[in-house]
Structures are given as structure tokens and as C-alpha cells.
């Protein structure tokens, strides 16, 4: 059974219908952390976060404190919040921006104070209509409340936050593409080196790019101390994490659970969370960390929800999205639909991703619709190998950004785990699930 002793860190206001308002936020301890932080030295704030060992919640899981420490010293630097959550079945930031925008903004101000950055851009997915409205309202309210603007809360620290809606491209979730888009350019990921925006980022200046959930953790960390956060979870995976649970579960939704102390099985089956598989069917496979992650079979359900634990088994916790597939799920169709997403969202810059995603999508479409050939399976694996040589995870790359090697994950997983399902499609001349 799930371990439920951990406090709710980022979803503590879930019970309130007006959780997004300033009044509710203030009534539930809002902006106290910021006032505390402003009494501290910026480096002490940063050191609390470092001590919390807060791993970035955007997908790559890079420690936030270390990212901050890499910020090149310069007269001008920026903080950018990545809220371009656009991957299918990933919706935990969606929850945070709609349900607790002030928590995000408070986290942002704390981070900016720690970094001594005075200009912040919050880049939100353009399709988050309600989220954009609420975050903008929260920003406006925060200005009025004195938490944003010049000399906040009477301190010597001044800060401006601009909310910037994305224009509908998944690729802008890649931090360098996001920066290009913020600069008003086409959202092409930048080639590395330079490897880190912390050295050369927005407008060529040092820039920290952090995820919405990462920022939302900061008020709690300041209120309770980095050590308290680090005491939760296990190993490198400290604290709690929001998971977006989707697919064939009885109660899909966003759940905050303590890391490592809980397993995939806990999250899927516990009545407080997923509540089990629909019609109590058997799990065929799960996607453990968003559709770019390689799949797991049911034998790995008891794996703890920890970054390194999942990485050891060749996948990732990634964007915090867990998709459950049972015997009623057509894995060929699932892989095809995921590929279709990547094909449509490839920025078009690198040849293997641009052409590979389209080619694989078309071949997968044929297979799903009963027009596949046996040789397509090896062809697909070879094409996947040409995008991500060796088909390992973390991947080797032939492209500028990781969208490229994200394409093969589902196809490679589906073919290697469920080759018979593909053969059934080919032999039957149609999808057996139709």
C-alpha cells in the first residue's frame, strides 16, 4: 500500500474551489515564504534549495540548485519559467497553473531573489487558456499586493514578471527553442555548445530556465527548510512529485506522492490514486514518464517512483506522466498515435527527426491499418536506430535536441515487447481491436 505520511507540498490547496485567488492563497500561508526569503541573503536562499536537492521537474531531472550555481555572473541575467507542457497525457503543470498560480509566482519571486534576477518571463503553453488567465491575474494581484514590482514588500529587491503565451508548438518546451520563441524567432532548438542557457541564454545573456512544478516547490522549501524537503523521498529523488496518471485507470488525474517511497503499482492501484485498471483488466504496459519514454512491462510495476530507479531500468520519470495500457489497448495504435504527435511537432530542423518521424508515422499508420509488411518491422527498427543509434536510454543522438530520440521510444518498445501484436495486424489485414 502506498505511503501517505508525506505532506502535500505543491497540491496542498486542492480542496479549495478558489485555490487560485490571492485571498485564499494568503489565507493558507501564501507569500510568507517570500517575506522570509527577503530577510535572508540571496545565497542562503539558494543554499536551502541546494540542500533540498530539488531535481528539476520538467523532464531531465537536473538538480535545480546546481543549475542555479551555473548561472554565469553578468550584469544582466534572466529567469525563464517553462510552462509549455504539451506532451500527450502530461498535465501536471496544467493543474498547477490553473489551481495554484500564486504558489508558482511566489516560487518564481523566491528563485529570482536567490539568483538576483530582476526580469522573469513565464512562458506558458498557448492552449492553457484558463491557466494563462489565472497566472496573469495572479501576476496582476501580486503587483497590487506588493510582491512584484519595485522594492517588493519594502525590501530593496525589485522584480518584473512577464507572462508569455506560446504559439502552439510542442518544441518550445525544449528550453533553447523556448528562448528563441521568447526572442520572437522561430522555435528552433539551439545547437550545443553552448550547452547551458545559464551561460548563454535569452538575448545571449545568462538565463535560468526552470519548470513550473520546480518553482512551485520553493515556497514550501523556504517555509520548512531544504533539509525537511531532502528528508522526504529517497536517494537523489527527494520530496514529492506530481504525477499525471492517465490511460486505462479508474481514476485518472494528478496525484502528489512522495518519491521512491511509492511504486508504480501503488500509484495505479491505490484507491486514493488510480484505483486500479478499468474493468480490473491486466496491465499490458505502462509509459513511465511521458510519451518520449521507453515503455515498461507489468513486471516493473513494483519499481519505486524514483528518478535513478527508473533510469536504471532504461527509461525515465521524465515529465511525470504515467499512461496505463491494458489488454484492451492496441499497442500498435498507441505507438502510431505517439509517433504522429512527434511527426507533427518536429520543428523540421534536423533531417533524421524531420524525415524520420514522418516516415515512421506513415509506416506505423500502414501497420495499424492492416497494410503493413513483415519487413516493415525491421525497417522501423533500423529507421529508429538511425535517429537514436543503439536505441539505448538515455539515447545517443543524431539530432540537435532530444525530440529526435524521443520518436523511436514508443515504436521500439512496442515492436520489441509486442511483436506478435504487429504480426497479428499484418496477418489479419486490419487492427484486431477494431
Amino acid at each position: 500500500m502506498a505511503t501517505l505520511t508525506a505532506p502535500l507540498i505543491v497540491s496542498s490547496r486542492a480542496e479549495f474551489a478558489d485555490s487560485y485567488t490571492l485571498s485564499r492563497y494568503l489565507a493558507t500561508g501564501g507569500y510568507v515564504a517570500l517575506r522570509t526569503a527577503l530577510t535572508m541573503f540571496p545565497e542562503d536562499v539558494a543554499s536551502e534549495v541546494d540542500q533540498a536537492s530539488l531535481l528539476g521537474r520538467g523532464g531531465a531531472g537536473f538538480p535545480a540548485g546546481r543549475k542555479w550555481s551555473m548561472l554565469r555572473k553578468a550584469p544582466l541575467s534572466y529567469l525563464v519559467v517553462n510552462g509549455d507542457e504539451s506532451e500527450p497525457a502530461t498535465f501536471k503543470d496544467h493543474y498547477l497553473v490553473e489551481r495554484d498560480p500564486h504558489q508558482l509566482i511566489e516560487g518564481v519571486i523566491i528563485a529570482a531573489y536567490a539568483l538576483q534576477v530582476t526580469q522573469v518571463f513565464v512562458f506558458l503553453r498557448g492552449e492553457f487558456a484558463l491557466g494563462l488567465e489565472r497566472v496573469q491575474q495572479a501576476v496582476n494581484d501580486a503587483y497590487e499586493h506588493g510582491a512584484l514590482g519595485s522594492k517588493i514588500f519594502g525590501s530593496n529587491f525589485s522584480i518584473d514578471v512577464v507572462v508569455h503565451p506560446g504559439a502552439g508548438a510542442y518544441i518550445c518546451g525544449e528550453e533553447t527553442a523556448l528562448i528563441e520563441a521568447l526572442e520572437g524567432k522561430r522555435g528552433f532548438p539551439r545547437i550545443k555548445p553552448p550547452f547551458f542557457p545559464a551561460v548563454t541564454g535569452l538575448y545571449g545573456e545568462p538565463t535560468v530556465v526552470n519548470n513550473v512544478e520546480t518553482m512551485s516547490n520553493l515556497p514550501w522549501i523556504i517555509n520548512n527548510g531544504g533539509a525537511a524537503f531532502a528528508a522526504l523521498g529517497g536517494g537523489r529523488s527527494t520530496g514529492t512529485r506530481l504525477f499525471a496518471l492517465a490511460g486505462r485507470v479508474k481514476n485518472p488525474g494528478v496525484y502528489e506522492v512522495e518519491m521512491v517511497k511509492n511504486t508504480f503499482r501503488d500509484l495505479i492501484y491505490d484507491p486514493q490514486f488510480g484505483g486500479g485498471v478499468i474493468d480490473d483488466g491486466a496491465i499490458k504496459a505502462i509509459i513511465p514518464g511521458g510519451v518520449s519514454a521507453p515503455w515498461f512491462g507489468p513486471e516493473l510495476l513494483d519499481l519505486p517512483l524514483g528518478q535513478d530507479e527508473v533510469a536504471e531500468k532504461g527509461s525515465m520519470l521524465g515529465s511525470g506522466s504515467i499512461v496505463v495500457m491494458d489488454e484492451t489497448t492496441c499497442v500498435v495504435r498507441a505507438a502510431w498515435r505517439i509517433t504522429k504527435f512527434f511527426s507533427r511537432e518536429s520543428c523540421g530542423q534536423c533531417t533524421p527527426c524531420r524525415e524520420g518521424s514522418g516516415w515512421i508515422e506513415r509506416a506505423m499508420y500502414r501497420l495499424e491499418h492492416g497494410e503493413g509488411r513483415m519487413e516493415d518491422l525491421d525497417l522501423l527498427l533500423d529507421l529508429c536506430d538511425n535517429i537514436a543509434p543503439g536505441l539505448t536510454w538515455p539515447p545517443q543522438m543524431t539530432t540537435i535536441c532530444v525530440l529526435g530520440p524521443s520518436i523511436p521510444s514508443s515504436v521500439h518498445s512496442a515492436i520489441s515487447m509486442f511483436r506478435d501484436d504487429f504480426i497479428a495486424h499484418i496477418k489479419l489485414g486490419r487492427c484486431p481491436h477494431d
Binding site: I191, S343, T351, R354, L379, I387
Partner: protein, 867 residues
Amino acid sequence: MTDLTRTTVSITVNGRTVEANPGELLIEAAERSGNYIPRFCYHPRMDPVGNCRMCLVEVEGPRGATLQPACFLKVNDGMNVTTDSEKVKKAQDGVLEFLLANHPLDCPVCDKGGECPLQDQSLAHGSGETRFVEEKRHWVKPVEIGELILLDRERCIQCSRCTRFAADVAGDAQIAFASRGDRIEVATSPNQPFDSVFSGNTVQICPVGALTAKPYRFSARPWDLDQVESTCTTCAVQCRVAVQSSGNHLTRVLGIDSEPVNHGWLCDKGRFTIDSIDGNEASTDLLHASTRITEPMIRRNGVLTSVSWGEALAEAARLLRDASNTPQGVGAIGGAALTNEGAFAWERFLRGVLGTENIDAQYGDGLDAALLQSLPKATINEAANAPTVITLTGDLREELPILFLRLRESAVRYHRSIVELAFGPSALRSVTRVSLPVRPGEAHLVARALTSTGAVDKGVEINEVDLAEARRLIGESGEGVVVVVGRPNVAESAQVVETALRYLAEQLPQAKFLPALRRSNVMGALDMGLSPQLRPGRGFDELAEGRDAQAQLAALRTGEQKAVLLLGGCLLGNVIDVTGACESLENADVVVVTGHGGATLAYANVVLPAVVQHERVGTVTNIEGRVTSVAPKIVAPGSAWPDLAIAAELAEQFGQNLGLHSVEQTAKTIEATTGYPTLSALNDETSDGYVAGRGDERSPRRPLDPMAFPGIRSIEIVGLGATAGAVDVSDVVTAKAPRSAPLGSVKAGRGVDVPLADAYSLRVVLSRRLYDNGIAVQGSPALHNLKAVTTLRLNHFDLDRLGVSTGDVVNVIGERGSTRLPVALDDGVPRGALDVAFGSLNEDGEDVIRPIIDHDRVITQLRLETT
């Protein structure tokens, strides 16, 4: 241990140690060591972006060997690279296969077929069969994205060379990617065609047949083309080019990567106006530039009639002899389009045979040749590398496009400073550090303000912050200042800029100067002595007195000078006072030596047909004094002769022998007597030439990379035909350069008498456009639709003051007449001035602006009135 004396780094490529320059790109270092790495998006003259992924190689790193793009990676000491492993081969083959997945199999009907990097690559390394069984991507093909360029999106491999060239190199971001994934496409914005004057470069660097040029499209197959390396003489930058023909028909001009000059780029005028040479076979109107002059002619009963060379030469000699019998009775105008050898031959004929000093290669639209000669010269590279460049020119993109590209790169890519004296609209403005608006008649005052520390002359409006910044940049640059100087406004007396130039030369004794005269081989013609007081090889005779072009035209009008030899048929297209020039020619005996028709022929008594660009051998000299060779690619039509032969034969009519029997021997004579490197350049056809006065300085040629320059295979050595025996350069190096002109004192030009500003009038800036009404554009069907239409461009202050806006037609009233013209907003024009294009025609095809220019005043003022 680090060896501090080392200037190179060592890397290992496929197990072998290779020395590389620090900061060099891996793809370049590997190529030099004999390991060619395939590529599509990489171009040596643009910043790498690493997006085609073709150049993936294995590089050892902390996490083992990983695939990295060689075009983007800079070498560092100890780097260990593998370019030939199975893993590399699989990755590269994979990329190639991906590129071909959606690439149409239309090579048999594709212009690029036969010179296509993708085709070559596929043939060399590709799989024979496709594994792609789906329907390929389809687009409407081709689409016209500009007047000269067609785009076939099915063939496009999204290497972004064209979009990067347009945005980064040319600064005309009119093409860019739209959409994404495998539906990504190169596109223009709605209602904004790709009308960059550099558009043809995108076709040249396209690694597939996605971009094609309308003039060349379907005109030949690459394997039918024959080519020579030569120099483009469409303007005075003189880019190195490969000239290609199919049979005796010019088909294409491609830019060669000349390190000191054009870096592989060309402007569309140089690239596409070859059709003015042999693209108008049906044209017979002798008064139009599209007509080639193919036979000698004499005016009989008022009509130009074809005659034999013998008759024509005899008649020409008779007219010139009669005129030269009276003192100062004869002279010559023109010659800027000649080769150096042709110019030298005419100089020998004019001074040696006719004994006249009335010689001028300019049409009164340039600058004092002796003054230019006296200035310390900068090369184009020196200007592009200077920490601060001062420009006193018109819009360089319109006047000398490739010089514009070089200076733009210097500012944008290398962050060097440009201080611009802005006479009118200028494409360089957006990248300058300081742009000081200069009204007509005030350049010398602004120049004085720039180089002094005191107060600015009264009546001159200069932004103090800008002036301080300009002074700071100039002061900081010390020896590094290069002044680029041309003739920004032909409606303003040359004295104004010349006086400004003298100030700058006096006040900045360490500055170097780059003349920005526009026309063809004008620098070569001046260096060969086609100007009063000048002598071949940059000599100067201060005692000599002769008439320049304007003085000759005046003397012809009064009858003081009886005859004129016109070297080129475009006098009337180029003088400011066109009415006065017609009167002068009407009065005179006129001998015209020309390859093209033109309005001037209406006044010709004798016409001698000459060969033109791409039909002749010889050398030419560009703005920086660089002497390069030109080679013939086609045979001239009819019985046109090289100028050298015409001059020599005409001298024979006077019973004199110029002693010039061949181009090679003439080049030798020049070099032997003056040290001017004509023979050296002529004997070195596949080089970037020699800068006159700079000894043996030569820049290394980069090896021709077919991926960077598709279409140029290799450049063959051109035979010169019969020569006058063996030519030895050994005896020419000892020749001493002749005495050159001393720097004129500023005092001589101090009295520029500019009339007071008239509150009701605007001062005229008569500026140049690339697509003017000159021979090349007038005779080019390809550029026909791009010619400038006469429009008055005004600052918004002046438009508001007049209560008019873009498109309104106003009455234009001057002392010499009036006309009606449309106005347009352009804040590049200084307040109180109006800009109008020289040589442009109004909607009725008439040149209405030149006749109302006050050519004998320092500036022209015009009043605009609404009806």
C-alpha cells in the same frame, strides 16, 4: 605541458595526428588532412548551424565516442575524431536516406542534375534502392518567389543555406521557413517577393535543384557547359566569376570564392545581365543598348551605314586628324569599360598620336582622379577589417553591392564600427554605429565637424550625441580608420565631397582610403592615364593641362574643340547635363568605339564595333587597385574588334605604330615600364590577382569545394591565342613606379559656395540605383521588370510639411523646368532634401529629372507643389 610557442593544436583524425588552427571547425581541419566529411547545410562563408546532420562523426568525449556534427565543432587540442567507422557510416547513410525519402526522382528534368551535391552524394554512397514505399510529399512546383527566382519545395532538403544567406549575409530576410515537421517549407511573406539584389546567390549555393534562376532555367545541361575563370566588370568591385557558355552562347555566371574580394557572392546585376551581351539577337535599334554593334559604320546622308573596317578607320582618322590640326581641337571621353590593355592602347594613341591631353574616362559623375590617386589606399579586406570605417558614399548596396556585403559582414559578424555620412537612403544604415545625415552641399562641413574637436559650423545640423560617438570611434581607431569615398550625389558638385575628402586626409593622416567609384574598370582606365595629368601606371604630370569630360563638352559646344573620340557608347546615359551634351555632340565630329548601341549613336559620324565583357582577354583593376585577368568565353558577334586592335589600326592610319601587337605584349609593356602588374595578373588567370603598388602580396585560394560552389567544376586555364613571342616577367619587376600625384591641399577646395537654404525648396540628392538605365540593365531582358521608376523620396517631416503622402503626385519646379512625379516616404533621406534615382525613368519611360538639374550649381533645389 602547454607549449606556449605553439600556434596550432593537434587533433587525431582516424588515428592520424593533424595540426589545426585553434578555433578552426573540425570539418575544415579534417578536409585539409584529406578526410572529406560530407555536408549539405555547411557553407564556408556562413556561420554553421549543424542542422542537416550529414557531417556527423564520432568524437571521443567524457562519455565515450558520440556522434557530433563536424561543421559545428571547433577543434581543440587532443580531440580524437573518427570519420570512417561503421557507426559514422550508418549515421551518414541514414541521413542521406532520410533526405531522399521525400526528394523527388526528377533528376532528368532538374536543372541541378549533373552538378547536384545530393545526386553526387547519393551516387557515391547511397543505397541503390529505396526502402520508402509511401507517397512522397507533394507541393505545387515551382513557385515564383521573386522576379528571378523559382522555388521547388519538393526538391528542398531544408538545409537553410538560402534562408541564412538572405537573413545573415544579405540582410534581406525575405525568405524563411514556414510550417514544421516534414511539411516545413521555405516561403516568402504574403505580398513581399524575394527581391533582394543578391537573390541569385541562393540559387548558386542551393545543394539541390530547389532554387532555380529564371534566366538559366532549362537553358543548358551542366555537362554541355564550358567555362572560364574571369572577372565581372559590371561594377568596379570586380568579383571573380566562372563564366559559362553552351556553344557560343553565354548561359551562366557563378561567383568564385575570392578571399580578398567577393567570397563567392555576386549581385544579381553581375550574375544575370549576361543576356545584355548575347541575349538580344533580334534587336536592331542602334539607339538602344540591347543592340550589339557588329559592323563598322559611317554616317552617310544622315544615316549610319555599314562599311568595311578600312573605310571606317580612314574616316575616323580623317575626322580626328582634321580636328587635331587645331590646338586643343580634339579629345576623348569614356573608356571605363575597357580592359587595362585597351585603355593603355587608347592612351598611347591619344597622347602619342593625337597629342592631346583632353582625356577623361569619367563622365563628370566621379571624383577628381588626381586627388584619388594621391590618397593612401586601402584594400577591400583592409576596409572590412578596419575597426572603424567612414563611408562617404551613396547606398553601397545599390552602387557596389559586394562591397556592401563585405562591410555589412564586418559590422554584423565581427562587430566593427561604421560611421556613415548619410546622403540618402542606405541599406547599410541599420548596421552602422553612427549615421550622420548630410544634406546636399554640406559634406565638407560634416567632415570638418567629424575630425575636429570644436564647435560645428553654423547652419549644419548634427546630432551632438552621434557626433561625439563618431569622434570617439574615429579617435580610438587611430591608424585603423578606412574611409570609403564615392560620389553620393551627382546633382551636387564633386567639389563638396572632394573638399570633405581633403579634410579627412589632412586630419586623419594615418587613415587609408578606398575609392568607391562605380563604373566597371574606371580605376584601371585612370591608372592607364585616361584622365588629364595622369599617366599610365599611376603616373602624374602636374605640368600637363587638359580638359576633363565636362570641359570637353563645353568646348565642343563653343566649337573650340572640333572632334571627340567616345570610348563607349553611353555618354548621354551618364552625363548630368544631357541637353547640353546633345548640343555639344551635334556640333562636333564624333567617333564612337562601342559594342552596344545607345542614344549617343544618334550623333556619331563613325562607329567602330568593339568587343565587350566576356568576349575579350586582358586585365582589369578594381576599386582597391587589384589587377586581375579577364578571359573571353564567347566570340564577339560580327566583325567587332578588341580595343587594342582598333587603337593600333587607327594609329596606323596616322602612319604610326603603337608597338602593341597583342594583349600579352601590351601587358608586358605596361608592367615593364611602370611596374603595374598587368602581365603578372594576365599570366595568373586562376588567381585573385595583384594589388598595384603592393608588390607580390597574394592571398591563398581555398580549394574549390563542390558542395559550397555547386556548378563550378574546376577552372581551366585559358589560352591567349597568338602571342608576340615568349614573355618573360623577370625584367619587369625592376621597373619603378612613376611619380604619383601629391595630395592636393584642402585650401584649394575650401571655397565651396553652397547657396543658402531656401525654406520652400528641397535639395536634390540624385543617387544611384543598381537597376538603373545603363547598358547592362537596359539591354537585359532578365532584369527588364526591375528597373527603378522615378520617385521622389522624402523624409516624413517634409512630407508632412507639404501635406502629401506616399503615392501622391506633385509638381516639381526647378529653375530649368518642371515635371510631375510621385512622392514616397523614406526617412533615410535627410530633412530638407529629396532623393531621386539617377537614370530612372518615369511611368512614360522618360528621364524627366536630369533635364531639371542645375548641373552648373553646387547643388540643385527643387520646389514641390501639390495641385
